[in-house]
Each structure stands twice: as C-alpha cells, then as structure tokens.
Symmetry: C2
Subunit: 211 residues, 2 copies
C-alpha cells in the first residue's frame, strides 16, 4: 500500500467534477433520507438529502445541511412557510425512486407524482410522509443557522411525531433496521445495504483499561 | 406489519436511556470517525464522533456536531487553541480501539496511549492523524455555530490536507472503500460493514421521466 498526500492547493486546482466526487466521498458513509414538505398551495415536494445529523435526544432534535439558496429550494421555502417537514428512511426497495427525487421536474409537479412514491398524512402536521418508509419522522422547524463559509444552512427540527414499524422497536428503544434493508450511502449517487453489525459495550472506568 | 405512532408527549415521558437509544437510532446510519487534536502542551486527544457532515466541495468543508460544553471537551478546547484537527476513517480492524476512545481516561493521558492507536504527523499542521486510517483528513477551523435549541455546536473545518491510500482513488475522484472495510454506524455503539453497493446515474431532464 502506498499513501498519497493531497494538499489544499491541489484540491483548489482540481477539475470541478473530480473535486466534487472526491470531497463528497471523503466522509465515508452518509445517511440518505427523503425529506417531505408542502407549500401554501398544497403542492408537495420530496427531496433526497444525505446530510441528516443527530443534534440531541432531549429535546429530540435532528438537523440537515441545505445548499446555498442561489436556485429555487422548494424544501427550504416550504419549511419556512409551513413550519414542518418529514424525514423518511430509504430502503433498498425505494432506492431508485428516492434517487430520482434529485431530478428537476416541471414547476408545480410534485416528486411524489413523478416518481410514484406514495405520500401518507398525519393528523398533527401537514407535511407528507413517505408511506413505504419503515421509519417516518415529522419535525417542526426549531432553528436555522447560516454557515458563512459557503452560504449553506443548518436546519434544525424538533421531532413532533415518529411512525415506525412495530417489529423494529426493541424493549430498550433500539431500532432494528435489518428487517427492512435500510440503506447507507456515499457521495451523491452510491447506496449500500449493510452486512454484519456489532454492538459494542459502553466504555466504563473499568473496561477502558482492558483495551 | 403494523405501524405505531409515537407522539412528542410520549417522547417527552420516556425513560431517559430508552429515549437516548431511540432518538440516536432514528436517522438510520451515521459516519463514525476519529477526530485527532493536540493541546498547547503537546498532549494529544482522540475522540470518536458519528456526526461528521459534508458542508461543501469548493471550498472543501466538513463539519461535525459537538455536545454541550457542560463537561470538559478536550476536542473543542484543542481545536480552539491549536486551530487544527484531523478526521480519520474507522475500519473494521480499528473498530474496538476506536470505540474505546469514548471512554474517560486519567487527565493528561492521551487516548492514543490508552488504546494503542498509533498517531502520525504531517509537516503542515500539528494535529495527529490515525496512522492506520486509510482516509486521513486535516482541517483548519473555519467557523463555529452555536445551536441554541440544545447548546450543541456545529464546528466547520476547511480541508488543508488529505492522506489516502493510492489504490482507493479512482480516475474520476471517487474513493473505493471496499478494500479497507470502512465502517458505517448506528446510534452510539453499533458498527457495520457494508454489503453490495450501487452507483445510480445522475438524474437528467430525460432520465427523470423514465422513472
């Protein structure tokens, strides 16, 4: 094996697609999810994001990174006007249709219609869920942080409802994803099922000295 | 299959460990990485984080979420005083030692020493890399955002150097992770190797109508 070193200057001089592929692939695996929203006219939107991040458990908060608002960002506008959005897990079965949500569709036509993904609704908030997703999460926008370095935004939402397949939920609160082939992802266009998983014990004052 | 609905009130009333497990497991897969830092006395620190997120390719930026500063956070203090940190991929081989970096060790003793993970150094910045990691990234702190909802912080760094196994890099800039069994994770304590992966074509004006 031989290691190569890539300097900041080399990154700066890279061809634009090469750089995009490399930098997007760097942080190994990501978490592809479908974000569902609705505008004031009732037109739904479904977008694929791979930047979902855990912010905290109490209060229950999740976040995601939005690209700069230089082009129309329906997800952002809908969240700002409606106040709510949903985050839905992507299974192997949903993969191709979920990826197709990254396309640009005619104005006023929902990705739900274009991709055939079926929405589902809840009584407590207006944003559409993805009916097929085994984990569906509804959030109320709580906070928005403008990232000055590149005009992206961190959107933070507070979980207001979780809809989950009962069989996935363990008595301790863990979610078993093995039954539904929920995907992990890489870069902008790669999707993976997972192989074997291992749960490691919490590191305590005693166990840490045994390593 | 039957779906259950968990309301915000139910989440609020949950036993604390149950809630922590559930909310941490909700966003499916995460991206475990080791973050290496050093303090002004030259004492190194290595912590495991699963909240690494892509912020942008040009300029090349990555971010991560830091928990509230109510206890000593060496990673944060070191980044603030030294200005640099490294993000290192976690392989199956590194898994147990990487997880052990979540332990609390005697003051002034580095996780590198306690876990036996070997550091490596670069000429251009002082933070330690993980020598065994096939993808090693050095970053300069660029920005810090205080998340008001729960006192966590988003730390944004600009990539100043990448060290990567040459065989992993494709002519288009993609990184092939299959050779090194880089892990994805779930919650606070689960690690997975990935199975089959699929790269999907970019959705264009024509292809989007074929879905």
């Amino acid at each position: 094996m031989s290691q190569i070193t890539i300097t900041a200057e080399k990154i700066h001089q890279m061809e634009v697609n090469y750089r995009r592929n490399l930098i997007n692939d760097l942080p190994s695996f990501k978490s592809p999810h479908l974000i569902g929203t609705v505008n004031t006219k009732g037109i739904t939107n479904l977008s694929i994001f791979n930047s979902i991040v855990h912010i905290g458990a109490n209060p229950p908060l999740l976040g995601f990174i939005l690209r700069p608002l230089t082009v129309e960002r329906h997800t952002y506008e809908n969240i700002k006007t409606c106040g709510y959005f949903t985050i839905n897990s992507v299974t192997e079965q949903l993969m191709e249709r979920a990826h197709a949500c990254s396309g640009k569709y005619p104005k006023g036509v929902s990705e739900f219609i274009m991709t055939g993904i079926k929405p589902a609704y809840s009584k407590i908030q207006p944003a559409p869920y993805v009916e097929e997703s085994p984990i569906q999460i509804a959030l109320k926008i709580e906070e928005e942080q403008a990232i000055k370095s590149n005009d992206t935004r961190l959107i933070v939402g507070r979980i207001v409802e979780i809809r989950i397949e009962k069989e996935m939920l363990s008595p301790k609160g863990y979610i078993d994803v093995s039954k539904h082939k929920i995907l992990t992802g890489r870069g902008l266009d790669q999707y993976f099922t997972v192989a074997k998983g291992k749960r490691l014990a919490r590191i305590t004052k005693d166990s840490c000295l045994l390593i």
